[in-house]
Symmetry: none
DNA sequence: AATGAATGAGCTTTCATTCAT
DNA sequence: AATGAATGAAAGCTCATTCAT
């Protein structure tokens, strides 16, 4: 086939909605297999055959549920993003901006440091337009969340909330990734360092 | 016939040292072609044939000067890194830690925002062990540089210089990359924001 | 591929123009192999691997010169069409319409009955839009040729030259194909029968 | 797992004879779906899953009624052929050979021009041995019919009735197909042109 | 009977790399 | 040195068919 599709109609949408429970299970198995392949072989070793094999499922089944490699990655991103978003949402319950930010940071650390290699690879893939496009909803949610977070009284007004939002996520992700690559395990210390950077960025005076 | 080399002995060392200017020129042309292909087609579209064609050179010639695909990437990383390092070195001439840090930030912004797509792709590739291994000298240089930078009086002592070094680079790169993806062009504003994060991280009180 | 390409950009154009004589040879070998596979295995058994194998050439080489299955078929049609057209052109040298028509018929019989299976399969493939599109020049040439042929004094004027042209080709091809399937070998008798149909169609009174 | 059956024992016989009207109905629906897929996607896009989906029936059910892909095609040919044969039979009621021939021609035009794309595709498929084999009865019927037709007094005796029979069918089909591809709609004019060719072929002097 | 999930052989196509010229 | 034809392993993906439910 054609291997490369015209960028306007890249195949990343899910293929078939399962009608039997068996199928839903297969999808989950395939996703987890994809994650594991990514973690052990990296992007270079990530291919549909490897995923199917790891899942103990035929290659045909993989294509019943995913339109191809990129579809698998998108689904994986969505899985990880949803988990993170659910955690992050709780930040809005916090009384102060500082507390909310801390919650967000901890959620980031928690999420990304759990499977650091996977997180790093998916982060990068999200940069590709084909993938990014499909994840727009999540990005919007994240921006909305941070926007709400920034209106707290204890956070100085920012010149641009959009940029601040981008920067905050970039900083947090970069530091967790760096920690992951180093094999760092002390999540508290990591969260602490991230706080320093973010509070500095937001020009917050930290209440002790 | 031989597509994937065993990961233990990847060929990334330059094949022949350019002695004639003709050869050196060809190498430069090939590297720039590689950069352009990376920028326009992304990693997925990056292949040796495409690079050779873009360079207007036969695929055979490419293999005269580079041991393979990864060798090309390594060389490209080195090209970019050297340029950056040269710039960054000058930070050491600065009298204060704050000034030095600002210089470093500006060098980062300058370097990465020039070709943001390329920078982002190479950053990621550097994460791959095969590539990373070859770039160890540069990393060491960077760490050394930052270490020297951090001993200035106006920078509070850090719990771990290694970690601080990693974090500083990670933060700067992540923010510039985010700016690049957004298409941001105001380098001064960007440098300003990075300063906030880094000064915060280092717990520096900024002298006005 | 992608297997199915969007109909607007089907890959049927030749890929690489050979610069070494070796390459031109490979192309010819591949084409003849394609013809043989078609004859022996039919369309169902016609695939790029089979063709490459039959040609004693690697599959990679096939794709250096042909963009895929359909490209191979197009090239094959062109090869056969050119040969036929060259023969058919001579019909215009004939003094009378009747003589010219006979020449055309004989050229058809000669051409198609030489490799009847191949002819029949290619005839069908030419009906597919993807293939047909590429062969437009040949069709135009054929129509032009027949148009010139029909202006002879001894051929009654036709209501529509275009339709007559289509019909003539259709009749001749169909009868030769039928003969081919039957295994008929007497070309003279076949040409004779085709003449009857065509002269009847054109309402010509045959001069004895 | 079992994709291609050995060509000697292709499964084309209907699997179960419909005893309940429900089953008969499903078969009809499947056949029409097959026809539609063929018309819209061509042979390349013709596959059992597509047919089942178009029929609104599960793939499993398709295999309950048809032994496979080829069986579907055979059944489709039979459906079309039966319809045509029924029409054509009436030619024998005609008093003269000329009238009978005209009736046959009109039946051909009527039948093939109704669904020209389908007709053309099935014509070709009938050329494949696997399919042809199953349609022998129809071919025999057609030959018998034409044989009877040719014994009329107003048709000159033919050297070989078999060959004449083949030729007549070939000419009629080819001309209708050509008309179909051109999008011609005037059936009367088409029938008229076919008559000219056939009368000429049979060396009949047309009574006005 | 009907369903549709699962299978995997088989086909298409790409691309890193080699080597004869 | 340079060239580019040739190679073939390795993916990608489809679809005829089966079979458990």
């Amino acid at each position: 086939m054609t291997k490369k599709s015209p960028s306007t109609s890249v195949k990343v949408k899910p293929r078939k909605t399962p009608r039997q429970s068996r199928a839903g299970n297969t999808i989950a198995i395939l996703l987890e297999a994809a994650a594991r392949v990514l973690e052990t072989k990296g992007m270079a070793g990530f291919n549909t055959n490897a995923v199917a094999q790891r899942a103990g499922v035929s290659i045909g089944s993989l294509y019943q549920y995913f339109p191809g490699k990129d579809g698998l990655i998108v689904a994986l991103c969505q899985r990880e993003r949803s988990a993170f978003l659910a955690e992050a949402q709780e930040a809005l319950q916090q009384p102060t901006g500082q507390a909310a930010l801390l919650h967000l940071i901890q959620a980031s650390v928690q999420q990304q440091l759990q499977r650091p290699t996977l997180a790093r690879l998916l982060d990068f893939e999200e940069g590709r337009p084909e993938i990014n496009r499909e994840l727009a909803p999540f990005l919007d949610d994240m921006h909305g969340l941070i926007r709400q977070l920034l209106v707290h009284d204890d956070i100085p007004p920012q010149p641009s909330v959009e940029i601040a939002s981008d920067d905050i996520m970039a900083i947090a992700r970069a530091m967790v990734n760096a920690a992951g690559e180093r094999g760092e395990v002390d999540r508290e210390a990591l969260a602490q360092r991230i706080s320093l950077a973010l509070f500095g960025y937001l020009q917050m005076t930290v209440a002790t």
